[in-house]
C-alpha cells in the first residue's frame, strides 16, 4: 500500500501529488490524507478516473481516502497528455476587396474566387478568414464563393464577416456563411494570429 500525506495542500496540489505517485507505478491500494473537503472531492475524482474504488473516512480532524485498484481498469483509462504545440501555424487571411489585383475588374473577380478555392491547400494552418469592406460580398446570396466558404467552415476554418460592412452595403440579411463580427474581434484575431495575409 502506498501512503501520501497531503495535509496543508490546497487544490490542485493534492491531485498532482497523487498523480506523481501513480506515475511511479500502479499500487493496488493507495491511501491519501487531506485536510479539506475540496481536496477530498478532487482526489476522489482523480482516483476514480484512474480506475480505483474509493472510500473516504474521517481521520482525526483530517480525511483519509483509500483507493483500491479495480482489476484491469488502470490501463484502460488513457492519461490525458497536455496538447503538444503541434507545429500548426495560425494564418489569418484578410479579404478587404471583391477582386484580386488591379487592371481588369472581371479578371480580378475570377482570380479572387480562384484564390478562395485554393486556400484549402494551406491545410490546418489556415485559421481565420476575415471579410471587410467590399470583401463581404463574397459571403452573401448569389456569390460563387459561398459553397467554398461553407466547405472551409466545415473544415474548422473560422470565417468572420464585418457587421458594419454588411450594414453599409445593406447586405446584412443576405449573408449566407460566416460569423458576423466586429472590429475588436478582428484586431484581437490579428494579434493572436502567427501571420496575417492581406489581399
Amino acid at each position: 500500500m502506498k501512503e501520501l500525506n497531503c495535509r496543508g495542500l490546497t487544490c490542485p496540489a493534492p491531485v498532482l501529488q497523487v498523480r506523481e505517485l501513480l506515475d511511479k507505478g500502479t499500487p493496488s491500494v493507495v491511501s491519501v490524507i487531506v485536510d479539506n473537503k475540496a481536496a477530498v472531492e478532487n482526489v476522489r475524482r482523480f482516483l476514480e478516473y484512474k480506475g480505483f474504488q474509493v472510500q473516504v473516512e474521517k481521520f482525526g480532524v483530517d480525511f483519509r481516502l483509500v483507493g483500491t485498484a479495480v482489476e484491469g481498469a488502470c490501463e484502460i483509462m488513457p492519461d490525458l497528455k497536455p496538447e503538444e504545440n503541434s507545429g500548426v501555424k495560425k494564418i489569418l487571411v484578410m479579404v478587404g476587396t471583391n477582386r484580386l489585383g488591379h487592371g481588369d475588374d472581371d479578371l480580378g473577380k475570377a482570380l479572387l474566387l480562384n484564390f478562395i478555392k485554393t486556400l484549402k491547400e494551406m491545410g490546418n494552418d489556415l485559421w481565420r478568414l476575415v471579410f471587410v469592406n467590399s470583401g463581404v460580398s463574397l459571403t452573401v446570396e448569389g456569390s460563387e464563393a459561398v459553397p467554398v466558404l461553407r466547405q472551409l467552415t466545415g473544415d474548422g476554418v473560422h470565417v468572420m464577416v464585418c457587421g458594419a460592412c454588411l450594414e453599409h452595403f445593406k447586405l446584412i440579411d443576405k449573408k449566407q456563411v460566416g460569423e458576423t463580427t466586429n472590429m475588436l474581434d478582428i484586431v484581437t484575431s490579428m494579434q493572436l494570429a502567427d501571420s496575417v495575409i492581406n489581399i
Binding site: P12, A38, E41, L80, P82, E83, G163, T180, N182
Partner: protein, 352 residues
C-alpha cells in the same frame, strides 16, 4: 531572486487563482451578518441585496453605480492578467445596466520576488481594457504583499429607473448566458501545467472580453434582471436570483455552453476549491435531474473569472436578443433556461 516580466509564470507565485480565490460565501455571510450598516434614502441598491454593484441616487435621472473587484493572477502572463482583472471589475457595472466612467487601481505587489516590470505590464493591461471601455483611470493604491493581487474600483452612471438587479423575475422569461463556463477548471489545469496552448488562449481571450457588447445589446430589449457570472459560479449566482423571488428556475444543462476540455479535467479532479465551496453553500437550492453527469454539475458550480452576463429576457424577445448578440460578436450566447412557477425559489437542472 527577483523575476522579471519576461520570465514570470504568475500562477506559480500564488495559492489561489482569480475568482476561485474568493473567501467561501458562507464565511463571508457569517462575518457580515447583523452588522450595523449606515442608512441613506438615496442608497437604491446596497449591501443587503447582495447585488453586483451598489447604486446611489444623485438626482432624479442620475445614479452612481459602484463596484470593486481584485484577485490573485489566474494566468501566467502579466499583461493578460491586467486585461482580465479590468474586464472582470467593469463587468459588474454592465450587469446592472450602467455605463462605467472612472476607475481606480488596487494593487498588492511582492516587490521582493517580482521585478517592477511585472507591475508595469499588469497595469498596462488594465489600461488597455479601460480604453476599450471608454473609462478613465483616476488613481489607485499599491501595497507591498507576499502575493500579487490586482483589480479595480469602478464607478459608472445609470438612470435610477433603469437598474437591472437580480430580482423581478417573471414566469416564462428566458435565461440567456453570454460566455462559456469552465474558466475556473481550465485555470486550475493551467496552474497544474496540464492545459494546452489552444484552450489556454481561448479561455484567456474570453476572460479578456468585456461584457460591454452584451450590455449594449440587451439595452434594446425587455430585460428585467441581469447578473454576471463570477466567483460563486453559474448556479451560485442563480441561487442569489431565486432567493425571495417567489419563482423558480429551470436549467437545460445540455444547452449551457462549456469548454469541452473542462469536462475532462473535472473528471480528473482538477477542480478549484471554490467550486466545492459553492456547492456546499448553495447546493440546497439546486435539484439535479437523474442523468445530469457529475462533471456537468461540477462545471455549473465552477467559479468563473470575468464570466458572461446572465440576462433574463422576455420569452418573446429571447431569440431576437440572441441573434443581436451574435451580430455583435457575442457568438456563444445561448438560451439556457427559463423562469418557472414551481419549484418555488429552487433551481431544477434538467438533462435537456
Amino acid at each position: 531572486m527577483v523575476i522579471d516580466e519576461k520570465n514570470v509564470r504568475l500562477t506559480q507565485t500564488v495559492k489561489g487563482a482569480g475568482c476561485a480565490a474568493k473567501l467561501p460565501p458562507g464565511d463571508l455571510d457569517r462575518a457580515l451578518c447583523g452588522l450595523d450598516l449606515p442608512v441613506d434614502d438615496n442608497l437604491i441598491v446596497g449591501l443587503e441585496r447582495a447585488d453586483d454593484a451598489g447604486v446611489y441616487r444623485v438626482s432624479d435621472d442620475i445614479a452612481l453605480v459602484q463596484t470593486l473587484d481584485f484577485f490573485p493572477p489566474m494566468v501566467d502572463d502579466p499583461y493578460s492578467f491586467g486585461r482580465i482583472a479590468a474586464a472582470n471589475a467593469l463587468s459588474d457595472v454592465y450587469a446592472m445596466g450602467g455605463t462605467p466612467k472612472t476607475a481606480m487601481n488596487i494593487v498588492a505587489f511582492p516587490a521582493k520576488t517580482l521585478d517592477i516590470s511585472v507591475l508595469r505590464a499588469v497595469v498596462d493591461g488594465g489600461l488597455f481594457t479601460l480604453r476599450q471601455a471608454g473609462v478613465v483611470l483616476v488613481g489607485g493604491h499599491t501595497v507591498e504583499d507576499d502575493e500579487l493581487k490586482y483589480g479595480l474600483s469602478v464607478t459608472g452612471f445609470i438612470h435610477p429607473e433603469r437598474i437591472l438587479t437580480k430580482k423581478s423575475l417573471k414566469v416564462g422569461d428566458k435565461l440567456l448566458l453570454t460566455k462559456r463556463l469552465g474558466t475556473g477548471i481550465v485555470c486550475t489545469a493551467i496552474k497544474a501545467g496540464r492545459a494546452g496552448e489552444a484552450v489556454t488562449r481561448q479561455v484567456i481571450e474570453s476572460m479578456m472580453t468585456l461584457n460591454r457588447e452584451a450590455a449594449l445589446a440587451m439595452a434594446d430589449y425587455t430585460v428585467c434582471a441581469c447578473t454576471d457570472i463570477t466567483g460563486f459560479g453559474f448556479l451560485g449566482h442563480l441561487a442569489e436570483m431565486v432567493v425571495d423571488s417567489g419563482v423558480g428556475l429551470r436549467i437545460n444543462s445540455a444547452a449551457v455552453p462549456v469548454y469541452p476540455e473542462a469536462l475532462e479535467w473535472a473528471k480528473m479532479g482538477l477542480i478549484p476549491a471554490g467550486a466545492h465551496n459553492n456547492r456546499t453553500f448553495r447546493g440546497e437550492f439546486v435539484t439535479f435531474a437523474p442523468g445530469v453527469p457529475q462533471v456537468i454539475q461540477d462545471i455549473l458550480f465552477d467559479p468563473q473569472t470575468s464570466g458572461g452576463l446572465l440576462i433574463v429576457v422576455s420569452a418573446a424577445e429571447a431569440a431576437a436578443l440572441q441573434n443581436d448578440l451574435a451580430a455583435r460578436g457575442v457568438a456563444e450566447a445561448a438560451i439556457v433556461g427559463e423562469v418557472v412557477a414551481e419549484p418555488q425559489e429552487k433551481i431544477m437542472v434538467d438533462v435537456n
